[in-house]
């Protein structure tokens, strides 16, 4: 996500084109996730350790590259962000129209991706094979599914999507890059996957819930409540923990999650 955020930002900054920026951001995080794939799939190292370390690497790498390119100037460089797109007619509906149909392209895309990914996961041969590899890699292997290749594809796809998420932060929301801009959002996303019971629709609902918490917190700050803003900022994090406790026992991860696949055993 961080890598995507920075790469997307840089891409846009240098090409002056938001679309190209997105592509570059997605490609960069896709490549970054390849490292994850190589270590966990080919070398079969522990996925948790590798993930933690790669997070630290990404943090250092993005900060380093950003500093190297822009120094530590007072006025952070910014870019022309993605402009909101108004959907004709629907966008004219008062109130609801502005909320639902006056967003930037990426928001529409995100919502569109929900049914698309659900459909790919549950209605195509590719999705079936992918789920099989996650549940019981050996069974999939005996049926000729190339387990390692499928896992690589999954990791890279995951990387590209999080890169897109990172791009959203820099290119559509904040228009600039800062150190650790994601502030744990990647981990909240993992919580959302658990909370959403490993199903795209559930995940969409879960993220909406987190979004609401975030929006509420901003809104309360703007309204100037008596609550210190630090407590408002805590809200999404607390919500994540509460959500995880609430979903306990009802969300079953794929059986072979985080288990490296060993061919002869």
């Amino acid at each position: 996500m961080l890598v995507g955020a920075l790469a997307g930002f840089l891409g846009t900054f240098y090409t002056h084109h938001v679309g190209l920026g997105f592509l570059i951001g997605m490609a960069a995080s896709g490549v970054f996730s390849l490292i994850m794939g190589f270590i966990t799939i080919t070398l079969k190292r522990d996925q948790v350790i590798t993930g933690i370390i790669l997070n630290i690497l990404a943090l250092g790498l993005t900060s380093f590259v950003y500093r190297a390119l822009f120094g530590t100037s007072r006025t952070p460089p910014s870019i022309k962000p993605l402009t909101p797109l108004k959907v004709p007619i629907l966008g004219d509906i008062p109130y609801i129209g502005t909320i639902l149909f006056h967003q930037n392209l990426l928001v529409y895309l995100a919502f569109l991706l929900v049914p698309v990914s659900a459909w790919i996961l549950f209605k195509t041969q590719f999705g079936l094979n992918l789920r099989a590899v996650g549940e019981h890699p050996r069974a999939a292997d005996t049926l000729g599914v190339p387990v390692e290749r499928m896992r690589y594809i999954a990791v890279i796809l995951g990387g590209i999507f999080s890169g897109l998420g990172g791009c959203f932060l820099t290119l559509a929301q904040l228009n600039r890059f800062t150190d650790n801009i994601t502030a744990g959002r990647g981990f909240i996303a993992i919580a959302a996957v658990i909370f959403g019971k490993w199903n795209p629709y559930g995940v969409a609902l879960a993220t909406l819930l987190f979004g609401i918490a975030d929006g509420l917190q901003l809104r309360l700050q703007a309204l100037g409540t008596k609550l210190p803003y630090q407590f408002l900022l805590m809200l999404p994090y607390i919500l994540t923990i509460v959500a995880l406790v609430g979903i306990v026992g009802k969300s079953k991860p794929p059986a072979a999650l985080a288990v490296p696949y060993q061919k002869d055993n």
């Binding site: 490292i35 270590i39 070398l43 079969k44 190292r45 522990d46 948790v48 350790i49 590798t50 933690i52 370390i53 790669l54 630290i56 690497l57 943090l59 250092g60 790498l61 900060s63 380093f64 500093r67 190297a68 150190d179 502030a183 744990g184 981990f187 909240i188 993992i190 919580a191 658990i194 210190p228 630090q230 407590f231 900022l233 805590m234 994090y237 607390i238 994540t240 923990i241 995880l244 406790v245 306990v248 026992g249 060993q262 002869d264 055993n265």
Partner: protein, 381 residues
């Protein structure tokens, strides 16, 4: 009856032969692969340095001189090593029981908060008593912060990676609030607490430097933990729970309790690290007093292969990187975030080389009904 003792010693020789054979293949030696990983990490980062137009040689020279080149630099390295060491030690315990405590950063903050509270509000006692009380308070503050995700895990099976990370943000925001409002220095303008009283300050070891007694605490802690893990039933149970909790439960080990103990120990050591920062270095609570020690300590613990004694060396090495990086930034204009890159690259290379050596090492080939089963699993995983 056979004479088994002789038989065993013969086998013993065989194993030793294998081990000798290992030393010829340099990749198999963990120490060598460790240094090789450091070398590779530096090589790769020198590419980055030259990419931004600086000279890698100059940068690394600045890095090494900055860390070890002067008394000031060296003591500063030890000052930075202290929180890494203490936190890394705690993480050894948690990681050995396979609880992925990513929340050391938050636990450090809690320890710091406890120290500040003690330092500001504790009635005046002799230094020895004050420090002991403060130490206990920060240990249990950090331990308490770690116990929450630990409890959520054993009670409901909530993933501790996410909860500990979330707890970090909550703790940091909480400290932020504390120094802005309730603990803010009366009459001050900066977001910081009042100075703590001198009886709670850790003694300075070397005149005119910042080197404080925290480092001694770290080294002593390493010794204690080493003995605890290797020689006591508690250490044994932590190890069993980490490697196979089902077998542990089956043989009567109270797995939940052990996880909770490991978590409290882990958070407690992080809390002590927080105490070291406040009572030893800053003497008051600040925003951002920890530049991510909690995260770097994860790398330290992993790289030390979860061995407390190794943590001492690795934490000093990493502290040297941090201190040297500041010099490097000043002298060679290389952003100090390079350190994070070097650190993580070292671990990645160590992970990679272990994969290679395990696959080929004869000790890790196993016969089981004529089939090779799995290669030896990475000990830290």
């Amino acid at each position: 009856m056979k004479k088994p003792v002789e038989k065993n010693t013969e086998k013993n020789r065989k194993v030793q032969e294998w081990r000798r054979g290992r030393s010829f293949l340099f990749l198999y030696s963990p120490l060598l692969s460790f240094f090789l990983a450091i070398l590779l990490a530096f090589l790769l980062s020198s590419l980055l340095i030259s990419w931004i137009g600086a000279s890698p040689l100059l940068a690394f020279k600045a890095l090494i001189l900055g860390a070890f080149g002067s008394l000031n630099g060296f003591t500063e390295t030890l000052v930075k090593a202290t929180p890494l060491m203490l936190t890394g030690l705690g993480l050894c315990v948690a990681f050995r029981s396979k609880v992925w405590n990513i929340g050391a950063e938050g636990q450090i903050h809690l320890g710091a908060l406890a120290t500040t509270l003690m330092g500001v509000y504790l009635p005046h006692f002799p230094s020895f008593i004050s420090l002991t009380l403060t130490g206990l308070a920060s240990f249990f503050a950090g331990g308490f912060w770690a116990a929450i995700p630990g409890w959520l895990k054993i009670r409901w099976g909530v993933n501790e990676i996410i909860t500990t990370l979330m707890m970090n943000y909550i703790a940091i925001l909480g400290i932020n609030y504390a120094v802005h409002v309730p603990l803010k220095e009366p009459g001050g303008f900066l977001p910081q607490s009042a100075l703590i009283q001198p009886s709670v300050e850790l003694p300075i070891l070397v005149e005119r430097t910042r080197l404080h007694a925290g480092i001694l605490l770290g080294i002593a802690g390493a010794g204690v933990l080493h003995i605890l893990l290797a020689r006591t039933t508690l250490g044994y149970q932590i190890q069993v729970v980490g490697l196979n909790p089902d077998a542990g439960r089956c043989s009567g080990i109270p797995v939940g309790k052990i996880i909770l103990i490991a978590m409290v120990l882990s958070g407690g050591f992080a809390g002590l690290a927080g105490m070291g920062e406040i009572a030893g270095v800053h003497h008051r609570l600040l925003e951002n007093f920890s530049p991510g020690y909690g995260y770097t300590a994860i790398v330290v613990a992993l790289l030390a292969d979860l061995k407390p004694l190794a943590v001492i060396l690795v934490s000093i090495l990493f502290a040297a990187l941090i201190v040297g990086a500041d010099t490097m930034q000043r002298v060679a204009g290389v952003p100090n975030s390079l350190v994070l890159i070097i650190e993580s690259l070292i671990v990645l290379f160590v992970l990679g080389s272990r994969a290679l050596s395990y696959v080929r090492h004869p000790l890790f080939f196993v016969k089981d009904n004529g089939q090779r089963t799995t290669e030896g699993k990475l000990r830290i995983s």
